[in-house]
Symmetry: D2
Subunit: 375 residues, 4 copies
């Protein structure tokens, strides 16, 4: 029997792995950080029996409430990720699984590898309507990549979409893959209408270093990128620095920052009501966008979400707030669950890579409903 994690976004520490009935593991912290919650490991076991896998340090993770009602995902073929029996006893997360194949991967959510990320970028650039722009380099020497979809033109709205500032929130890049597939589909009416009116600037992965390293929230320097938007530096947060700089260069009329939420079993958005410049126009746009998204998919809802910021109390180091304040525009954080969507539960798969892609596709129809009002 063996547990390994030396692969893209692998993350685990082995405490004890000699007895299938009592495998004890710990989630490794993000480097230079105390955050941890993302796990991803492979179990090779020849034993035809129930395996009990205990993540012993679950209670100390970044979002211990995230383990309530959470079911881990697993895969035999690295393509289909299904939910496995998981319980949280207030201290440890315990996975009970009887493997049906010799090797099985477990993860916090369906992984999205750097290889797939590169495939996404390069298959997109082959589309005549899409350009791949290199913004610069991460601390580990990876590329910060931007996809520009549509022919830039001053009259068109500039819509920016960023994903995976927190690298463990892989659903964010699945969302972007879905959105991008649709946006490049020449037979799709929503995509065609949007590209007549807007140019999309898409950063499919804001944090490639953290992604490859198997981090939950931070980059190679231990920085939580979503607290770096007011004063990013090339030393500590080049990812934000480079993207922010490009935003200032292109201008920006709408912004979606795609995330996953550990606790809430719902899809929801969090807006910019707490930024100093928040006004009626922004409020109306928010309402219109939410209504539009509600009209296209029952996966979205507005009942559950974060508490709203008090006026003027927004944390301007956060991407959505900084962008809203800087550009006086519609800016939303989109949150998807690690768990399931409680409105539409799926015991076998929970919220998944595929559902994330579909939400990305559907979000384009909602953007179309507001695009004419953005400026």
């Amino acid at each position: 029997m063996k547990i390994t994690s030396n692969f893209d976004s692998g993350n685990i520490e082995i405490i004890k792995a000699d007895d299938p009935a009592d495998i004890q593991l710990a989630i490794r912290k993000d480097n230079q950080s105390d955050f941890y919650q993302w796990f991803h490991f492979r179990l090779n076991s020849p034993h035809p029996q129930m395996h009990k896998i205990t993540l012993t340090n679950a209670a100390g993770s970044a979002y211990p409430d995230g383990w309530q009602d959470y079911q881990a995902v697993a895969s035999y073929d690295r393509q289909t990720w299904f939910r496995v029996e998981t319980e949280y006893d207030g201290k440890a997360l315990i996975i009970n699984h009887y493997p049906e194949a010799e090797s099985v991967y477990f993860a916090y959510f369906a992984p999205y590898s750097y290889e797939r990320h590169q495939d996404l970028l390069h298959q997109a650039q082959n589309d005549y309507n899409c350009q791949l722009i290199d913004l610069g380099e991460t601390l580990d020497g990876r590329d910060m990549s931007l996809l520009v979809v549509g022919e830039p033109d001053d009259s068109k709205k500039k819509i920016w979409i960023t994903a995976r500032q927190h690298p463990g929130e892989t659903m964010a890049e699945w969302f972007v893959e879905g959105l991008l597939d649709r946006l490049l589909d020449e037979d799709d009416g929503v995509a065609r209408s949007l590209l007549a009116k807007a140019v999309f600037y898409i950063v499919p992965n804001m944090n490639p270093d953290g992604s490859v390293r198997g981090n939950l929230r931070t980059n190679a320097a231990g920085a939580n990128l979503n607290r770096e938007w007011q004063n990013p530096t090339l030393d500590r947060s080049p990812e934000v620095y480079l993207v922010r700089q490009k935003m200032l260069e292109t201008g920006l009329d709408m912004f979606l920052d795609i995330h996953g939420d550990e606790n809430l079993p719902y899809n929801f958005v969090a807006g910019a009501e707490g930024v100093p410049s928040y006004n009626e126009h922004m409020k109306q746009l928010e309402q219109d966008f939410k209504a539009a998204l509600l009209a296209v998919t029952p996966e979205f809802q507005v009942k559950y979400g974060y508490d709203k910021d008090e006026p003027g109390q927004a944390n301007l180091t956060v991407a959505t707030s900084w962008v809203a304040e800087q550009f006086k525009c519609l800016a939303y954080t989109v949150e998807m669950p690690f768990k399931d969507n409680a409105d539409l539960p799926d015991a076998a798969f929970g919220w998944s890579d595929i559902r994330s892609m579909k939400l990305g596709q559907d979000s384009l129809a909602a953007i179309l409903q507001v695009v004419d009002k953005l400026r």
Copy 2:
């Protein structure tokens, strides 16, 4: 050089086919009928030159206005159907095309063969959530087939969808294929939500005989099925008789009858405002459904369409009117263009098989918005 049409939905008469610069053809009438407009033929030509194909009797067709701004479709591989240069001089329809392969098919719209129809039915029945029901036989001895999607339950709404009463309106079956694909997609939130609340009764092809024969509007007996709903008979219109009988057996809460329109370059719906029982509830449902469809796709619009019937003036021999009156429910005829959608024109492909499928998918999101209010 040779023109042939002895294949599924083939339809043409040859007047003169010895000179590529002057090929003269006529559209054959539907059997036992004076209707004609559907054409479908294959040109084999070894001549590397422009071919001028004149459909000499276009002016006498069922909808001569349909030829205005119309471009015929063609295909080299029977998969991709592109638009070719076409003009209407008030008498004849003239197609000018320089073939890039030895054999090219021309048609009024992308064909949907009986083979594909059978594939659709049988791949659907393999889904655990779908049942294929045989309703009886057509005059030519083909099967009248019904797909039931979802577990029947009295508490669920019954939603009926019929397509292709007029066999030449192939976009109607493409629409159903798209709708069905989505409805059977277990990862789709709209489909899952709908199937929790409704059962779908889908007739992908109301007129298989006319389809195979290459008719525009009629069945094997020359009957326009969409004028047979008040008194269908097994002798003249068994297709309607059998479907109507099953509707009366299952009950019905919502109805969409899918069509193509020869004249208008738009997607639109035609309702039941002219039936005696029309009331505020039905009116509200119609408005809600239209608003919902507008919210999911720019391919739909409500500006252009048929003139509304005066109160009480509806023709109750028409499916939508008969159903609305019989079941006091939301009932719409959905119309798609043979031409293009003028709101979102695509010079290369016009309105197409693929766009029809997408509209079918999108219509499910609109149905979801009204499903709770149907009864």
Copy 3:
């Protein structure tokens, strides 16, 4: 419960179809002919029970020995054709099957429709290396189509391949589909080597009328095309007339005529040892080809086959014999089983569409081994 056959290559007569435990059917004769053996029908049944289907006139069919150890094929999705429990009592063929879906197709072998035939031709013509040539018309007004693969050049060998003179032998067209897929594969070494040395003239379906009609052996005039090669006429056997004429025009260095055999559970070839001109060179080529095919696939064998003709006793009305005599070349009839390959039995699928395609692919490697010696 209902039995129907009004679809491409459908063929059955209903004697009694009111009791699932005793369905009695008869195989319809080929038109203007006494041959019959091909059957193809659809059973719609809501009864969850074993269905006993008796083909009452099996003993009188063209090859009654063909029913020994034969298992019929069936399909729920029209894509996967599996074998079902079948027995022959010396008089009738009895199929016992408990349907797992509402509608199930039964056939003598996996059908190959005229729609698929047209798709094959037109997808092939899209390849830059392939040309679709129209040879003329059948009696029912269908196209006699020839695919020419490779750039014609006098120095290259001319290899002709014909399939499905007997329309019920659908495996012949599956074989051609496999062969053609490989021949057009630009990454395939065998295909590239062959096309440097040879041009292929391929008739995927010698008998489209019989195919659509659901015949076993004859065309629309009741002619067994494989007895028409000495004196074909446009009135009775235009299919042979047109192909033969083109052969005489192009010349011919090798010929394979693809068939299915009702009796023998093996793949084998039948040569031209009985034609007057048979000589040592032809004999050597035959031996080389057989050895080459044995070397690439265990599906082929040389132990079982037809008795060899005595010298000079060949029937020159048969395609292979006529071609061998006319062109003094390597000419083989390739036979595949309707049953299974007893050397490599597969209880679930028997000899199948997929295995036929693979044999077609493998045959190219064998042709490559003899191509340099053909003239």
Copy 4:
């Protein structure tokens, strides 16, 4: 403009990358080794012009003759790898390329990533006929994985296949992917015949650490694994140690070790004629295998290859020799070109990933021809 290589199997050093007309790079040495020849990097450039890329230290690489007539591969979409204009002046390798997209990858040969490697293993294990066995760990903590195909049984021959001891020889893993696809194809006669007679033990990647690191020939400790077979140790060459140990446990009747050759533009095999135990039986098996492979594919040849070892002069530290001597069996090194196959040149793609896969498939037909004679 930017050159990067921080991705799977990336390998380059930047000397000068500020002028598209004069980009100067160097190939990095394998870690703890002087070998180098594998390169893999990405060029991001916004400049619409010819780019001249000089690999300045080509002359000092492991196989400087390998650069003669060599064309580098490049890709815009990471799926299609085409050849680009490349010349060797005796000192440097110079690539001239006008990029048609913003980002382009260059490599010595089509890469095969560790992600794809894991996909290969886990999709294979999902097949009922295949088992994934963990043999232990590499020095970098990666898994040494073995696929066992077929039900082990003493009467069956044991056929071992290893690939990519030299990690830069990626064609070896493409070969295995092709071979494995066919071996797991239940409709394939060759596969079915083989699995009735033999069990396959396949190591798709003997050197995962070197592969991820972008090495040409060595593992994480700088060891050339193909010189470690006489005395492998867990400290220096655990990859060989673990595989050798398993071979001794299972026994072995035939061995293929899959490689790429830098110099020769041909596919060829190198045998064990130099091992002390070499005998007539082994010689005959070698001849039979070569003849069989010649009979299935023109991509193979026997004219060009390595000089044969003198009797008794084989280097027994090499896998093929050690295995042949240990097990007195048929053992071959299979070599594919980095360049092209000069017998069947393809200017656009050269020898490729796809052709390597096909050779892997074809090799199974050759194994079938000798399997009965192996013991």
